[in-house]
Symmetry: C2
């Protein structure tokens, strides 16, 4: 327990997110109630609601919190430069290159793949979770990535006429597609997949 | 009821697949048992098992059966030339171009998106369904698409050094990614998305 209250209570945040992730994997979105999450995290429901305004926002944050190491993730600990819409093409490719090994380890984790499947699988049964994930976590990254990609076209790093929105959908989509496929994947295989996709997208040098 | 038995009983096939699709959407993979499917289709369990050797194979076929109009789908009614690994780049782009409007209508259907979310969401809870879908329906299409794409590189229709496997994952992945996003999409918006992705991938002329 911290006495200063600043940061509010990182320990409680972490316990709540961990409990939410576990319940999401075990029981799906339908089985991850605020009540169950609070019980498992050993905090009160009020403590949860003080941090997240809705179950949907909490579950979206839980999905996001599992994606450590992915390029551009909005961790409090991350270098803010990661999310700089003014970064150059070279800075972007260097960022992606440096992030790939950790990203591959995270993406190859069965727990992460299970979490993602539960979240995307809830798209129709509980649409609020994907909506919150999209609005709170994906859209902010797209708003950073798109101007960087547009400048890369203007400056000749990507071919003229590149449709940067389609390219972004294709790059993220290829990762998602791999994660939802059957069978296990090793971190080495995932790293190879990531490199091939980012290279084919023109977002990695070499 | 047909007396000739050839085709076995298209009506029973269709009723079973329709019941499986409905139960998948309503209850997810866990709620779509052979017993429930047979009851809703008004056939016996033996009739189901005579056609599909396992629940997983049937549910995979149900997902596949909902994807009418997608380029390269293995409908019995489809022109076999669709699946010709010797087709030229021009034949492929013409096939894609002609398939896009129907594909956009199918992909924009809430029922299809719900079915896909349930199938991908079951990736960890019931891995057999995605495994059967992959083996029976996706891999055969990849085996046709990859040599066509490789020849397109050799013949200069796609840039030298194109990683055709990565490109295929990116193209399919971008469709999947759009389908799993929150919110509705109109057939017109879906068609625009499809055109942009296939064009960015170099798989559409113009």
């Amino acid at each position: 327990m911290t006495r200063t209250g600043r940061p509010r209570s990182t320990a409680a945040d972490a316990a709540i997110l961990r409990a939410a992730r576990e319940l999401l994997v075990e029981r799906g979105v339908g089985g991850a109630s605020i009540e169950e999450i609070a019980r498992r995290a050993e905090v009160s429901k009020v403590t949860v609601y003080r941090r997240w305004s809705s179950r949907e926002a909490l579950l979206a944050a839980a999905v996001e919190s599992s994606a450590e190491g992915l390029p551009g993730r909005t961790h409090r600990e991350a270098d803010p430069a990661e999310l700089d819409p003014d970064m150059t093409y070279d800075q972007m490719t260097a960022l992606i290159e440096s992030a790939l090994p950790q990203a591959a380890r995270t993406l190859a984790t069965p727990g992460y793949r299970a979490l993602l499947a539960q979240a995307f699988g809830s798209r129709f049964t509980h649409p609020g979770v994907m909506a919150a994930y999209w609005d709170n976590h994906i859209l902010p990254r797209r708003r950073v990535a798109l101007p960087v990609l547009r400048r890369a076209v203007t400056e000749g790093h990507l071919p003229p006429g590149t449709d940067v929105e389609a390219l972004l959908d294709m790059t993220v989509g290829a990762l998602l597609y791999r994660l939802l496929q059957p069978g296990d994947i090793t971190p080495e295989e995932m790293l190879d997949h990531l490199r091939r996709v980012y290279r084919q997208a023109g977002l990695l040098r070499s």
